[in-house]
């Protein structure tokens, strides 16, 4: 790799100037950017990148003749997951043009027609970027976004530290080491009003102050990258797209509290994030930005990566620390708080990925600048992962206080297939659902808690009329029940009892009184559980009961599933007059239950049908009927 020499504080500005020159496009230069984060790779990004390189190689003489210098850059994620694979073409001095849904074939055409021929394929371009700080600002989905945490994602090559430095990277550390005292750093973070982005929203500056004041000769900082909420992936995106921002944030935090060693605890399900972190750490060490005697100032910080081993509870800070120390990841009561007794009983400060990534920007631009964004009590931005039945799935970074309606309808583009909004589940298994009546709620820490949900890590799963809220609650309960570490009985036994009740209700065996029992048990689990997992586990059940009680009642009293999801309470059939015999249902049916000849009325064999609803979703003619299952003969007689 780089044979870079170690930098000192005095060298850094000149080094940055060099990086800027390399990053900026020179006249005649063309850069092709391919989004190769996990989402881009899952959509086939590796094949697209290979096709681009092959095509460029085979057209080398033409490229030279046209006087172009072409560079292929792999970048992280711009947040437009729905549109992957994304390829951008950037001619020096022109706006950067974005192609979506790129296949290897289209990639070859892009090289031939656009890069070599100079003729953009207009009908395949979805947007243009003129200003890297406000990408696609002419589009509704992006107009209201403010990119602080995601500022570099999709622009820099995350495996090249020069790119990060060119975009202002390590300038926060530079400012700190040039003369801010640890107390001065903490004061700046306090002014910013930054609160923890991992879920609970504890003020970051205050947390640092506790750790800084704690007595001890050895202290640690930890990055919680155990993003376990199903439906949240902003931390993965930051780690894959801008790993140095997290490292720089941790360096600044370590300086502020007096730590000389740190850990990034990253879940093993994110192999690419771990790989890029390792590369970033190596590069920072080689330049003297990490390790001993950083930038020649005498400040030292050693950073390790610990791979999580698949336990949701390890997102809880005391469980996470147990796991780093090689033990079972079970939480312990607090106090003592980690700030006083953390890793190996030493003072330890834990923040999550997104919190750390905000820190360098706060130190560069000032706490007051950051505090100017957001609301009175929730400052800055939050990155949300929009998924589910929403049109524009992906990441969105918005100022705190924006309404749910703006996120769902303007940024998210509304519900897929123009169906009806039903709810958004915020904060994963710890959060709650927000029905249509709460769409105008401002999204900030306190408003969400008041509505029974919570910010959590920022997962937003949008559901439409085709989602059963009882089934969704059962899904989350099944998740927390299997992830409960088993240490305290309210969580271990309580979640099991709630799950069994929900499973009965979904199977059509609910009984009067079940709903009240669920509410009562849910409150008890919240009150008596040891850690955040149990204390929030009943939230999805409690909020779905609060806002969609009629659906529970339909399952229990009428033995019907209004959304047509719970297999025991639904059946599918073909409406003969509407069926055109197009074969779509046959094509999607996974169990071979749908059959028929082309252009003749199809049929569904109830004995083979697994009631998955694929045919119902696929039919373009509304010819699939969803009804109650044929009642058992005994019940008909009754």
């Amino acid at each position: 790799m780089t044979s870079a020499h170690r930098l000192t504080l005095r060298d850094l500005p000149a080094y940055r100037t060099g990086c800027e020159q390399g990053y900026r496009l020179q006249p005649g230069q063309v850069v092709i950017l391919v989004g190769l984060a996990t989402c881009g790779l899952a959509a086939g990004g590796a094949d697209v990148a290979a096709a681009i390189r092959e095509e460029l190689a085979s057209r080398q003489p033409e490229v030279c003749a046209a006087g172009r210098q072409v560079e292929v850059r792999s970048t992280g994620c711009l947040g437009l997951c729905e549109q992957e694979v994304l390829v951008d073409v950037h001619f020096a001095g022109q706006p950067r043009l974005t192609y979506a849904h790129v296949t290897p074939d289209l990639a070859r055409r892009i090289v031939a027609e656009h890069v070599v021929g100079g003729r953009p394929i207009e009908n395949r371009i979805i947007g243009r970027i003129e200003d890297e700080d406000h990408p696609y600002k002419d589009q509704t989905a992006c107009a209201k976004q403010v990119r602080i945490v995601l500022a570099n994602c999709g622009f820099i090559d995350p495996e090249r530290i020069e790119h990060y430095v060119a975009r202002g990277g390590y300038a926060g550390l530079e400012r700190v080491l040039q003369g801010l005292s640890p107390a001065g750093v903490i004061a700046e973070v306090k002014v910013s009003g930054l609160r923890g982005r991992g879920g609970a929203g504890f003020p970051t500056g205050l947390k640092w102050e506790f750790a800084a004041r704690a007595a001890g000769d050895k202290k640690y900082v930890v990055c919680n990258a155990d993003e376990g909420d199903p439906g949240a992936f902003m931390d993965r995106s930051v780690l894959e797209g801008d790993p140095h921002a997290v490292i720089e944030g941790m360096l600044i935090g370590a300086y502020a509290i007096g730590a000389d060693e740190g850990y990034i605890y990253c879940r093993a399900e994110y192999p690419l994030a771990i790989k890029r972190l390792r590369v970033a750490i190596e590069q920072a060490e080689a330049l003297g930005l990490l390790g001993r005697n950083i930038l020649g100032t005498g400040f030292g910080f050693e950073l390790h990566i610990k791979e999580g081993a698949g336990a949701f509870v390890c997102g809880e800070e005391t469980a996470l620390m147990a796991s780093i120390m090689g033990l079972r990841g079970t939480p312990r009561p607090r106090p003592p708080f980690p700030a006083n007794r953390g890793l190996w009983d030493k003072p330890t400060n834990i923040n999550n990925v997104e919190t750390w990534a905000n820190v360098p920007r706060i130190l560069v631009r000032g706490g007051a600048w950051f505090a100017g964004i957001g609301t009175e009590r929730s400052k800055g931005t939050k990155v949300f992962a929009l998924t589910g039945k929403i049109r524009n799935t992906g990441l969105a970074e918005v100022p705190m206080g924006i309404t749910l309606r703006e996120i769902v309808y303007e940024i998210g583009g509304g519900i897929q297939n123009d169906r009806q909004y039903k709810a958004v589940q915020i904060g994963g298994p710890s959060g709650g659902c927000m029905p249509a009546s709460l769409l105008d709620t401002p999204v900030d820490y306190d408003s969400l808690v008041a509505a029974g949900a919570m910010m959590g890590s920022g997962g937003m799963v949008v559901v439409d009329e085709g989602t059963c809220m009882v089934d969704l609650a059962r899904f989350f309960m099944a998740f927390v029940q299997s992830e409960s570490c088993g240490k305290c009985p309210p969580c271990r036994v309580g979640t099991r009892l709630m799950l069994e009740t929900l499973e009965r209700i979904c199977a059509g065996e609910g009984q009067p009184g079940d709903i009240d029992w669920l509410v009562d048990m849910g409150r008890k689990i919240k009150a008596f559980s040891l850690c955040g997992l149990g204390q929030t586990a009943p939230n999805p059940v409690l909020t779905t009961i609060q806002y969609f009680r009629d659906e529970y009642e339909a399952h229990i009293r009428d033995k019907t599933c209004p959304a047509g999801v719970c297999p025991a309470l639904v059946s599918f059939g073909v409406i003969a007059d509407k069926c055109k015999g197009c074969g779509r249902c046959i094509k999607v049916c996974p169990s071979g239950a749908a059959s028929g000849k082309l252009k003749e009325v199809h049929s569904i064999d109830a004995a083979l049908c697994i009631r998955c609803g694929a045919c119902f979703e696929a039919c373009k003619f509304e010819a699939i009927e969803r009804g109650q299952p044929a009642a058992a003969p005994a019940e008909v007689a009754g």
Binding site: G231, A232, F233, E269, A309, G326, L327, T387, P590, S591
Partner: protein, 164 residues
């Protein structure tokens, strides 16, 4: 406790040597052991315990606590079907049912020919492309039950080619 004649501890000894003396080494040691042997063989647990100076019960406790560790041999290809929220809402269960029926194994189990291990995972973090699954290190998105079967078929054919 004897390590058994069939267990080759050479690789394990190398892993243990690399971690010797470092606090908190148990989980990385288990991870690397599993990476090397494909699972955590019984004799390995005893050797690890002795080497790190802790009771076997502690090693066993950690190995059974985390979803990542396996005490039984696993297939050549690990198929992880995502059942995170986004995949749940968009039909991840259907994919799992279909693969489970096609492979003839329940989630968590391995096919008789040791070709595939079928697992469920809480979230792969590629929610924008749900429903998704991972085969070994490759992630597949925008799946239908059919498309998932096609992916497995490719791996099956790949295995057949290697065999002939």
């Amino acid at each position: 406790m004897s390590a058994g004649p069939e267990f080759d501890r050479t690789a394990l000894d190398r892993i243990l040597a690399a971690h010797q003396g470092r606090s908190g080494a148990l989980i990385p040691v288990l991870q690397e052991t599993q990476e090397t042997y494909g699972y955590l063989p019984r004799p390995a647990l005893a050797i690890i315990a002795r080497s790190l100076g802790m009771p076997v019960s502690r090693v066993y406790g950690v190995a059974t606590f985390y979803a990542q560790f396996h005490l039984k041999p696993r297939g050549r290809h690990i198929v992880r079907v995502c059942l995170g929220t986004a995949c749940h809402v968009r039909g991840g269960e259907r994919i799992l049912e279909q693969l489970s029926a096609s492979l003839g194994v329940a989630p968590g189990d391995t096919t008789g020919d040791l070709l595939f291990t079928l697992e469920k995972v809480a979230c792969l973090g590629a929610c924008g492309l749900s429903p998704t699954m991972m085969v070994d290190q490759a992630t597949y998105g925008r799946l239908t039950p059919r498309a998932a079967l096609d992916v497995l078929e490719r791996y099956r054919r790949g295995a057949a080619e290697v065999a002939t």
